[in-house]
């Protein structure tokens, strides 16, 4: 039996940064995967995916693409994307730390959603919120 884990990363108080959490909440209770919310602790991220056959990580991005752009990466083979993220360790750092410690899942899919507004207290912006059904379908098709 394969073990699949879906991990939504985000902060509820930072606008579109919360999209990963919103996805995790939408998928809570699905039978095809464990669903985990991550508030930004990179070590908890590594703990969550250690031993998994497939981990799907959902996080907000800020790359200059139009808000609501959804990108899907192979997390194990993509180029590390520099600095970023909460608490001094980015998702890319967590992947590299997992690699150094031999604690990566067999497959790692990273779904990025381009955010528009990361200000404190802002709600999800409409173009970002509108991606929820598409992301849920992508995750189900991947898992």
């Amino acid at each position: 039996m394969t073990r699949t884990v879906v991990i939504g990363i985000g902060n509820d108080y930072r606008g579109d940064d919360a999209i990963g959490l919103a996805v995790a909440r939408l998928l809570r209770g699905v039978t095809y995967a464990e669903v985990v919310e991550n508030g930004g602790d990179p070590i908890a991220l590594i703990d969550a995916w250690t031993g998994a056959d497939l981990a799907i990580v959902i996080d907000a991005t800020r790359s200059g693409c139009p808000p609501g752009t959804v990108t899907v990466h192979d997390g194990l083979h993509a180029e590390p994307t520099g600095h970023g993220s909460t608490h001094a360790l980015s998702l890319a750092d967590a992947i590299e730390l997992g690699r150094a410690l031999d604690r990566l899942p067999a497959r790692l899919v990273v779904i990025g959603i381009e955010g528009a507004d990361f200000t404190l207290g802002a709600p999800l912006s409409p173009p970002v919120e509108a991606t929820l059904p598409e992301i849920a379908r992508t995750i189900e098709a991947t898992a």
């Binding site: 990363i9 985000g10 902060n11 509820d12 108080y13 930072r14 940064d17 991550n38 508030g39 930004g40 602790d41 070590i43 908890a44 590594i46 703990d47 996080d59 907000a60 800020r62 520099g82 600095h83 970023g84 993220s85 909460t86 608490h87 001094a88 360790l89 980015s90 998702l91 750092d93 590299e96 730390l97 150094a100 410690l101 031999d102 990361f118 404190l120 207290g121």
Partner: protein, 429 residues
């Protein structure tokens, strides 16, 4: 070269977002600005009009690393208005939760953020490639803290089990047993951590710090106490506003704190240790003696040793509390609101965290004031930077910038929580 400007747009291995700006002319530093973007102001505004029961949950979101600190300072401020005292096993549970947070936070800082500076690595990730066993030891230590927080607080990040008056539910003794097993191994790892960091090569620098920390007659203060300073000042937490005044500086969204009119005091591990080290657990004092570490440390680089000792103390005390734990008759003391002002403070991993609330007669929050440790330390960190940089202005800018970042990391500033982007720029003017 007569002018030099150093800008570090995003400080690496510092919690949250921040930047650093230093300017020099003719060999003298003319300006040091640690720019920090702090969310407490936003939360203070958010809290107004909310019910008195809400701050423990809302303020816990200010920091992903120290939510328990926010919860504990908030609860105590609100309980003082409601005239409620949380003591006995409920207070012990709060201590237990708080020790979990210290273990989590200190283990992360020691192993992944601070140790790379001493071992010559640009990051914890790079260090992990060569020192896998060491990093795994740090992560196991952190995990023991996470599990303790989860067992008492309901979950490891942003605990949900805390309420004004105590907890929604008290854990059973049986639920704490597996946590204790892991903590026993963590305590061994903490002893090993003390010995490991004590062997680092430390720059020979001491500063004449004015320390500020809580102090408590019965314990190495973490959850509550009076405010004490290294020059002999002592006052109850309710007097905080008459001693500590915050001022706004244009370069920062954080306020700078002054103590009796003077900026530049230091709160955090070095301050706690200097004021309270005789109250550390027996095992911790023994570990300090073994490495020849005296009762006061003024070398900011050696804060890593103090964090290691505090981690050991937290493991040791948490184990004692679990061994002695008797489930409370009820998980909380009922707290009825009334109009009034309340003050609360506790020792977050980074230092003293003060909260003040004013409630109206319906129990709604009319005013909230939060003074986080990093805002208090900001002026002092800038002093450290000035002392470091001025004699070294001839160094290449990148090298000097790296030294400055390192000096900032000594104080583990929690600059803000949590956005998922941080860009690093260094350039000359």
């Amino acid at each position: 070269m007569t002018h030099k400007t150093i800008r570090v747009g995003g400080l690496s291995r510092v919690e949250g977002e921040g930047s650093l700006f230093i300017q020099a002319r003719q060999g003298r530093i003319t300006d040091v600005q640690l720019n920090i973007y702090e969310p407490p102001r936003f939360f203070e505004a958010l809290l107004r009009g909310r019910a008195y029961t809400e701050p423990p949950d809302i303020t816990a979101r200010i920091c992903g690393i120290c939510p328990v600190a926010y919860q504990m300072s908030a609860c105590q401020a609100l309980e003082s208005i409601c005239d409620v005292t949380v003591d006995g096993p409920l207070r012990d549970l709060r201590l237990l939760l708080y020790y979990g947070e210290w273990i989590e936070s200190h283990a992360l800082h020691i192993y992944l953020l601070h140790a790379p500076d001493f071992l010559g690595y640009p990051s914890g990730v790079a260090m992990a490639a060569d020192h896998r066993d060491l990093v795994e030891r740090g992560l196991a230590l952190k995990k023991a803290g996470n599990e303790l927080v989860a067992a008492v607080g309901g979950r490891a990040i942003h605990p949900i089990n805390v309420r004004v008056g105590g907890f929604y539910r008290a854990p059973s003794k049986r639920e704490l047993t597996p946590v204790a097993e892991r903590l026993r191994r963590a305590r061994d790892a903490a002893v090993a951590t003390v010995r490991w960091v004590a062997g680092f090569d430390f720059p020979d620098i001491e500063h004449d710090y004015r320390f500020l920390a809580l102090t408590h007659p019965g314990e190495y203060a973490i959850l509550s106490g009076d405010v004490a300073t290294s020059d002999g000042l002592r006052f109850p937490i309710a007097d905080w506003p008459s001693h500590v005044v915050e001022e706004h500086l244009p370069h920062s969204t954080a306020l700078h704190a002054r103590l009796d009119g003077v900026a530049g005091y230091l709160t955090g591990p070095l301050a706690r240790y200097a004021l309270n080290s005789p109250q550390l657990s027996g095992l911790t004092r023994q570990a300090a003696a073994e490495i020849g570490f005296g009762p006061i440390c003024r070398n900011p680089y050696q804060s890593i040793i103090v964090r290691a000792l505090e981690t050991l103390h937290a493991c040791d005390e948490a184990l004692r509390l679990i061994d002695d734990y008797i489930e409370p008759d009820r998980p909380f003391v009922p707290a009825e609101p009334r109009a009034g002002i309340g003050h609360g403070a506790s020792e977050a991993p980074r230092g003293t965290l003060y909260h003040r609330y004013r409630l109206d007669a319906e129990g709604l929050i009319a005013e909230a004031d939060i003074v986080p440790p990093t805002a208090q330390n900001q002026a002092r960190i800038e002093d450290d930077l000035r002392a470091l940089a001025e004699p070294r202005l001839a160094l290449p800018t990148a090298e000097l910038a790296a030294l400055c970042e390192r000096a900032v990391r000594n104080h583990d500033p929690c600059i803000s929580c949590s956005a998922h982007f941080l860009d690093l720029h260094i350039h000359h003017d």
